[in-house]
Symmetry: D2
Subunit: 341 residues, 4 copies
């Protein structure tokens, strides 16, 4: 790891305030398995900021665990979830959802985003009991391609889902980055109007670990702790989630960290654009996909690590750059400057 | 939580050294999902201390997750695991193992410990393809009743399992407490001689979270990371496990913490015995089961919280007291002194 | 198979009337997957005879398939089913229910029958989300020990289940034998008053294959055909069930066949009693459990095959004798006569 | 059902010879669960005709059950199966494979057939433990589009699978129709050279029910009966499979029936072609996909029932016609003649 990493937004530990909060609360005896006062506090903060006092809030240690617990808890055995083919559950969770017994119906998209128009053919096709019953739509905001769902996107999806008896589940592993994007009009307090359940990612926005699952639809609330325990998602020292999320939402730290991450990606994107290079998808959040000549990529890899995303042609490749709450601006500057070498 | 809690060994946070180590490594960029240098270091330390250089070491966030990942990875669909009826997987994991598709064959025991004699009737009964195929024996060391498996216990079980084509899996959520018990002759380096797979509990011995799964049997090693990812057990910032376990094993902290926990329980047990009260099971580790008059229990509950375990008769109840690395001796002393009130 | 078999009630094929009906309907083109007119007809007959016009009726090819489809369709993932330890799902289905993700909580019984008193400790023990949620009670009528649930038994169980939010599911693989037992007061038309779902066994009462699942509780009806298809329980030529069950219920054949089976067992039991031998459980239906000296068993095995059930002591063994719709009286007579040799 | 049905190849019952054989063997007492002499006999015949004396043969009641039992038995939890998007397991089994925990990786094809070239991108994409591990290729012969795999197709696929550690599983629900197709060069005895496991469909070729699963790869044989029992696939009166398949293979009836089905489809196709209509896919077996003007379709539906497959444009629709062992030539002639009306 001698090079600076733009590989992902979880290359570093946790924000120092979080470490400090963990230290300060360390010897206070608490109830186990998420029934501690820190989880209570964090839950109250979250319900306040999303303006949904009746929501249920639970904490899971990672995105895959949140996804598999939510989906397997919401669906009956023969029901399926619809996802973009690029969706995290579709490709990058080693069949976690299928292991819980449910089919993922994958839909091709241009930009990682689902729309009613893209979903309709799935409903048209699935017409009887010889096929799974589509019952949930899974979206990621921001998406795996760094794009975002704005208010109108969610409004249309939400209306469509309600009309078609589909639950809408938003994976918010990178919700912070999505909410503070410069082109975004969605606010934390808007989400409750659109989705049945979502989660707020801590791991990729300054926490050591933790995703806050927020259940808005009453029907999905029943016995959710049973589902969590059964999937290994209840930590004995659940306080570690409560302390972290309380800290993230106490003074807006959650948003500050996301703003930094997006700003660093924007700066990278600006430099790349000025150096006359293009992108696979329009940069919007903390994940961007520039297309570079292979020779330039080799040069950049002297000092930086990042993922090769897809080969464009024999000479050019699309790479993925990810920034985080901890990305140092000097490395961003160096990256942009290295484009000229 | 105004009272001092003897409810469990996860009422507090992590040992300060661990917090410190997390702080010091915080900004070092690392690979994700457990491929960081801290996990490598902790893995090497563990392989060294157990004297099994060829072992594979992985880290999971809790006992249920470790259990379900190990068991579902080791067994074919129709194979079953044998456990004591008091075993954690049998009663306290909300059907986590069954959710992965496997039956737990439960065996009554006196003290939470399985023996070849107790297992044999299970093998006698399961004779053809109309019944599940018993293929693994699950034991906890120390057990859920605070008792321990010593070398001879494990030797006999291990030989029996080998003769009968059974895998032996040891849940070590409280392995520290088991190893430093005053009556124990088993050492960390002996375990490799007896079991196919086991784990070393961090959560209940000074870590924030984490169980180190150690796979000794080569046949169980294949593609284990696939199993972990599929079950949501790979954390993006897997480093949090590496840092903690490195710290626990750097200078014997793991054992020191367990020694303290057991010592506090021993002191409680000594005081209880001197006050002429008996126990459900002979105290050996950090969990003890004294039997008290109900009136005394009411008095003790003015200052302490603990679980009521089982009603003995109309006048007496067995309670459970658990000590930990963080238990303060002054409260132990006060508890003993309160017995005389 | 030179010996006459008292091993089970599925050693022969189907009653000739059924074969005839299959032949007569053979070339009539029908819709597939159970939507044919024969299934409709059989379903109507069954709803009529059980006096439950709103019931839903489906046909599965065997008991294990019926059990796993009903149970996995009715329960949420963390919910469990309570069964007698001798229950078919508990021991003789190779973990089929666990494969669908659900724990079976096994209860010791004297005679294979569950009662509220036997179930209550299960509810007492399962008190929070660290344990599975008991949600269904599974009974077999007649039981695997040949005993029967009468009206009062079912009444008490049913009231208890309703008070405790438990579904009551009756496995009727041998329902015919149970209903025509001489001590029985339960009628086919009474069942609807007590259970949420049950099935009527065809395989063990004269059909080639087939169990008629009857869903009485509206909440269990939703999308049941999806569950069946997903479990491989919908046959393309589902008509084979419709034709058979129509024949069984057209002129009371179902009951006539069961009466014969029970009568043959009664005659065996009478002869055994007169020869001064005892039983493990009081003979009531077509399965009886006499206790014989080992030497007598060896003699009987010259001419008959049957299962050894359990060793009583060094000299005596309990065997299992099963009669069927096809049991020939001459072999019953010979068996009784051989007792005297 | 007043109209003649070209909807599927399971609209009628069983071939009369099969009914006769069931009648003749009806009272012979046999062992249960497929251990009877008829299953033994059928198994021996099948091993003989496929020239694979070491194969294991089992009987399941339908295609979905065969598919889910074979796949879940062969794969470890994180392993996936690759199938054509039109494959039966992908669309028409209500998520049966996913219910057993496994992802189906769906591949677009032109004609329902997989090739190494189509599979390679799947292997390229699935590169680490964050994704499922592709481990099996599922093909149907004939396919759901009526096309066939010939020797060279299977040879190429087989070589490719071996090089890439992929198991090759052939769904032969319509294997009869595939083998007797006029363009086919594959023989029953060739199959063993190419695949690890396959099944021979009885339901769609003259039996009441039954698919004969043939396991060629030794590693897939272990404890297969446990898998069958666990999935509800072992019938108590398993003899019904043995009797049927013995009859099918005694004097070549299996092939005769398939020849009739294909011949009827060929005659339909010839008439359609002569009437100047085209097809979605080249007719090869007993399923054909003509494209007709909507007005013609309305006319045909006066006398015939069939599936509308896909809308071609506002004026034309592709329909699906299926013939069977029982299709009467007079209706074929009438259909062709009705094209001219």
């Amino acid at each position: 790891m001698g090079k600076f990493s733009f590989m992902y937004d979880y290359a570093e530990g946790a924000h120092p305030n979080i470490l400090k909060a963990l230290g300060e609360s360390n010897y206070v005896q608490q109830l186990g398995y998420g029934e501690d006062k820190y989880c209570e506090e964090a839950s109250a903060m979250i319900k306040d900021i999303i303006n949904a006092p009746d929501a249920d809030v639970y904490f899971a240690s990672g995105g895959t665990q949140a996804n598999l617990t939510v989906i397997s808890s919401a669906l009956r055995p023969y029901e399926a979830v619809i996802a973009a083919r690029t969706g995290h559950i579709a490709v990058h969770e080693t069949g976690a959802i299928e292991f819980t017994g449910h089919k993922i119906i994958e839909v091709d998209t241009v930009d990682g985003k689902l729309t009613p128009k893209l979903i309709q053919p799935v409903l048209d096709e699935h017409c009887d009991e010889h096929m799974v019953l589509p019952r949930m739509v899974y979206i990621s905001n921001s998406t795996e391609l760094g794009t975002i769902y704005k208010k109108e996107d969610l409004h249309l999806l939400s209306e469509y889902c309600k009309r078609n008896n589909l639950l809408l589940f938003m994976d918010g592993a990178r919700l912070g980055a999505a909410l503070v994007a410069s082109t975004q009009d969605l606010k934390m307090s808007d989400i409750k109007d659109y989705v049945d359940v979502f989660y707020i990612g801590g791991t990729k926005n300054g926490a050591f670990l933790g995703e806050a699952i927020v259940i808005l639809n009453d029907k999905l609330k029943t016995n959710f702790r049973f589902s969590m325990k059964q999937k290994g998602a209840l930590l004995a020292k659940g306080r570690i989630f409560g302390v972290q999320f309380s800290e993230l939402f106490r003074n807006g730290l959650f948003f500050d960290l996301a703003i930094h991450a997006d700003a660093m990606a924007n700066k990278l994107a600006k430099g790349i654009r000025e150096a006359q290079y293009g992108f696979l998808a329009e940069p919007q959040t903390n994940i961007i996909f520039p297309i570079f000549p292979n020779s330039l990529i080799s040069n950049l890899e002297q000092s930086f690590s990042f993922h090769h995303w897809v080969k464009i042609n024999n000479d050019k490749t699309c790479i993925r750059l990810v920034t985080s709450w901890a990305t140092k601006e000097e490395y961003v500057d160096k990256f942009v400057s290295d484009l000229q070498k």
